[in-house]
């Protein structure tokens, strides 16, 4: 066997790919390796505290957690969480209704009807609103609903105040959902003789709805744990609210109050309440994921 057949023929410098440095240095450098490790690491760093937190809440809440926790009212430093659970859900219902009423209409009008300039003004306003600290929203609710409207510390005041807090989130999701519909879809619908309202209801809304719903559920997940908007607008009532204008307790308020309560056992209630909130928040987030997945399957190919 002759060696010459295997020996690589000498390459001219201009043909030698490995010696051509015009593309810059190409090596797997230590930098590439660090980036390769750093990404999973940062994810881990972000996830570990959350899992740790969830773990400790479960460890401290579950031993004392029974069915009675869900069905009995709080009493002193003991009892269950029936009243704050019902209160939280009712406040959340009222808040979501408020946020959807304003956020949905606002987002729809901004995305579909306002011109560039008008939409810009509304979007900046909404962003500013979203950046207002929740305690200030609470103070606003106190001044407006509790005092000026004369609703007192109540389910209504707390629900509407929390709704104000949640509105920018719903607004942003709605605005984005409708504004990101490809313009050729709108042209095609109107070109088929659809009236603008028919386009909105029959074409745009089925496309935008999943994103809007996701936004609503995310706003609920953010809002349900908020304490500040409720702190000045309702009180930690120990029985479920019997009407709109009586105080309604909430899980987040109970965490706040029971943590400060020196009586033994109170801290347990705080952890049980935290556990319940965690379940609600996780549930809402799972719902968001499911909606997103289903929508992606249905709308695949639309946005290219």
């Amino acid at each position: 066997m002759s060696g010459t057949a295997l020996a690589a023929p000498a390459l001219a410098a201009s043909d030698d790919l490995r010696r051509d440095r015009s593309g810059g240095v190409w090596r797997r450098t230590w930098f590439d390796r660090i980036v390769g490790w750093a990404l999973p690491l940062t994810v881990l760093v972000a996830v570990i505290p959350i899992l740790d937190l969830a773990y400790w809440i479960c460890v401290r809440a579950l031993p004392s957690f029974t069915l009675a926790t869900l069905t009995t009212n709080p009493s002193g430093a003991g009892g269950g969480l029936y009243a704050p659970l019902v209160g939280t859900l009712e406040i959340l219902l009222l808040a979501t209704t408020t946020a959807v009423a304003f956020g949905l209409i606002g987002g729809l009008v901004t995305a579909e009807y306002l011109d560039e300039a008008g939409a810009g003004v509304v979007r900046v306003t909404a962003n500013v609103m979203a950046g207002i600290p929740s305690i200030i929203v609470g103070l606003f609710g106190f001044l407006a609903f509790v005092l000026a409207f004369g609703w007192g510390a109540s389910l209504a005041a707390a629900g509407v105040t929390l709704g104000v807090f949640m509105t920018p989130y719903v607004f942003r999701a709605t605005d984005l959902a409708y504004a990101s519909i490809p313009p050729h879809i709108r042209e095609a619908a109107l070109g088929s003789g659809a009236r603008p309202i028919q386009y909105l209801l029959r074409v745009a809304t089925p496309i935008a709805l999943p994103q809007v719903l996701s936004g609503v559920f995310l706003a609920m997940a953010i809002g349900v744990g908020e304490t500040a908007p409720l702190y000045l607008t309702t009180s930690a009532a120990a029985i479920p609210p019997s009407g709109l204008f009586v105080p309604a307790g909430a899980l987040s308020l109970y965490i706040w109050e029971d943590f400060q309560n020196p009586l033994p056992g109170a801290v347990h209630i705080a952890f049980e309440a935290a556990f319940l909130l965690l379940v609600i928040v996780v549930g809402l987030n799972v719902l968001v994921r499911l909606i997103g997945q289903r929508a992606r399957r249905r709308l695949e190919g639309l946005f290219q």
């Binding site: 619908a189 088929s192 009236r195 709308l299």
Partner: protein
């Protein structure tokens, strides 16, 4: 066939001194006069930016969806000015359907896409069924989708989606179909199927086809209108225009020099 309505004797669409002006007095179209006879396929050709899209969009008042355009002159549909005071643009668009450069199916089933225009006017279920079937047949898509009418339209190929858009426009039985470069996003095989569909349809209704492709115009049209810088330079029978254009500009365009 395109419904029971008798074919009119005069032009179906008559464009008179049509001008479209953008902000800053920029003329996108300048004094276009052009008639469209029943059962014809007119190709609108011209270099990029000459106003082809603007022209077809002004035939069914789609130009109104772009703010800042002023329209002068008249577009007569069976003798009635579509820009007349008491004419609703929605009604005009139902008579003159439009197909765009890229397929624009909606995220619904194949059937519901084809039925879209009929649902807008609350057609009865029986009417919708028969009109959808007929439209899919006329668009040359029926055999391919009949087994899967309830499947998602977005799962169809690009060429099938484009023919579905043609079916959607046909389902309301328009007399005029405006097509703005309907095959420019399709591969040769899909293009060929759409062209076959167009050749069948021109025996029934008025087709106005924008194309940047002279070869396509040669294959499917009876008549070519050549636009340049917003003006109608020349219009005539396809063979005439391709073989003996009167204007030097037309000559330059069809030989690929503009």
């Amino acid at each position: 066939m395109s419904g029971a309505a008798p074919v009119p004797s005069g032009p179906v669409v008559a464009v008179e001194k049509l001008s479209v002006t953008a902000r800053g007095n920029r003329k996108l179209l300048d004094g276009i006069d052009l008639d469209f006879a029943p059962r014809s396929l007119t190709a609108i050709v011209g270099p990029s930016g000459c106003g082809k899209t603007t022209f077809v969009r002004s035939l069914n008042r789609m130009t109104e969806l772009t703010p800042g355009l002023r329209i002068d002159g008249r577009v007569l549909y069976l003798g009635q000015n579509i820009y007349g005071r008491s004419v609703n643009p929605v009604v005009v668009r139902r008579r003159m359907g439009m197909v765009f450069q890229r397929p624009t199916v909606f995220p619904m089933s194949v059937f519901e896409n084809a039925a879209f225009g009929l649902r807008l006017v609350r057609a009865s279920e029986d009417e919708v069924d028969s009109a959808v079937t007929e439209a899919l047949q006329r668009a040359g898509l029926w055999e391919e989708v009949r087994a899967n009418l309830d499947g998602p339209a977005l799962a169809l190929s690009g060429g099938q989606q484009q023919r579905l858009c043609i079916a959607r426009a046909l389902a309301v039985r328009p007399r005029v179909l405006l097509l703005d470069e309907p095959t420019s996003a399709l591969d040769p095989a899909a293009t060929q199927r759409v062209e076959a569909t167009l050749q069948r349809l021109k025996e029934e209704i008025v087709l106005i086809l924008v194309t940047h492709n002279v070869a396509q115009a040669a294959r499917v049209s009876d008549r070519i209108a050549f636009l340049h810088s917003g003006r109608l330079v020349e219009v005539g029978a396809t063979g005439e225009i391709l073989e003996r254009p009167r204007e030097p500009l037309t000559m330059q365009f069809i030989t690929g020099r503009v």
